[in-house]
Amino acid sequence: MILFIWIIILGFLQSATQLSINFLGLFAIFAGLKKGPLWGLFIGIFIGGFAEILSSQVSGLNLTLYSGIGLVAGIIKQNIYYREGVIMDFLFSFFGMLLFYLAYFAFTRTAQAGVLFTIIFSSIISPLFFKLIDADTPSEL
């Protein structure tokens, strides 16, 4: 429940300001990474649904992408490799965000150089962000 409140608050903040940090994307990666692929998918669907309301993009795009990165982060962690640590959190966030924006550009057939900063800034703050959110959310959510 606390996690969902955090998602809504930071989602509003992301929407009301022009921060070069994708909090919603970080939440999806966090859910996949710390709670497993299924939670990554479910929370990704919630985040995507929330982003759908605020966005003017084709319906279903946000939902697919946010749930997709949550799921992929969870699958990689569970089946391929993951070790607790700052560098791992950074790498997962970096490649998760990269995947998100590449998929976004592939769907919309548009590209923007500015997202590179968003990917970098989001990845840099991700270890601290994950730590704060993890301390605030019980393991069973």
Binding site: P37, I45, I53, S56, T64
Partner: protein, 258 residues
């Protein structure tokens, strides 16, 4: 019994398909704008707080700006006196010609309370809607230039497509030479004016205004200024890079032309 670990790929594929099918049904334009109506108050509080903090951070800068504006005011007052004279003369001539007064536009001030969270679309949400007689297609201006147009309206909220969005295309003309072109949004890079004749006289610094064609925007609204010109890749036309007159990134208050 179904074991989630074993059937994970099947569950995932099913959820994905269901989510996409459902979302295309649920997240219709009407549903989105109605839900945004509910979010209006928290969005106003958050955006209002952010604007206040931003203003506080740039207090010194604002103080300097205030001083400059006061100096400019004195000059403008002189110009105003001259314009009043011209207006009176205009009125007298209109009466002589029996000219009918056209319908005057009304301006509705609105506050930008949210943007697209992904930052990949140039759309904003304003705190005015059908309750304030805002309708789809109305022009949105900020300061002295064109900002966008209303694309969705809720009861007390509207979504505005900014001129810099990739989906924004309209017709514009160069104020000095009257050369016409199609203006498209190019996000952070500003605007591109396409299909200008190869022999056109448009130069760097020329003002671009709306042409009023195709009914998207009214004629004569300032769009921006040409910053560079180059031939199209096909070599058949010229393209001009246009810097919008309105700083789209710092849009806080806008006026909806009703």
């Amino acid at each position: 019994m179904i074991k989630p670990e074993k059937n994970l790929p099947i569950i995932v594929v099913l959820i994905f398909i269901a989510a996409i099918v459902l979302s295309s049904q649920i997240f219709s334009s009407e549903f989105r704008i109605k839900t945004l109506d509910i979010f209006r108050i928290p969005l106003r509080i958050i955006s209002g707080s952010v604007y206040t903090l931003r203003d506080m951070a740039s207090f010194k800068e604002k103080l300097m700006e205030n001083k400059l504006l006061r100096e400019n005011l004195a000059n403008l007052e002189k110009e105003l006196l001259n314009s009043k004279e011209a207006a009176l003369e205009n009125e007298r001539l209109r009466k002589l010609l029996d000219f009918k007064e056209s319908n005057k536009s009304k301006f509705v001030p609105a506050l930008v309370i949210a943007r697209d969270p992904s930052g990949l679309n140039d759309t904003v949400i304003i705190d005015r809607g059908k309750k304030d007689k805002i309708e789809k297609g109305m022009i949105v201006i900020s300061g002295s230039g064109l900002a966008g147009r209303v694309i969705e309206t809720g009861w007390r909220i509207s979504r505005v497509l900014l001129i810099t969005d990739y989906d924004s295309t309209f017709s514009g003309i160069a104020e000095r030479t009257r050369d016409e072109g199609a203006i498209s949004g190019n996000m952070r890079a500003g605007l591109i004016m396409k299909y200008l004749d190869l022999g056109c006289d448009v130069k760097k610094g020329d003002k671009i205004i709306t042409s009023g064609l195709y009914g998207v925007f009214e004629k004569g609204i300032l769009i921006g200024e040409v910053i560079s010109l180059e031939a199209d890749s096909t070599g058949l036309y010229m393209n001009a890079a246009v810097k919008p007159n309105v700083d789209i990134r710092k849009l806080e208050e806008v006026l909806v032309v009703r």
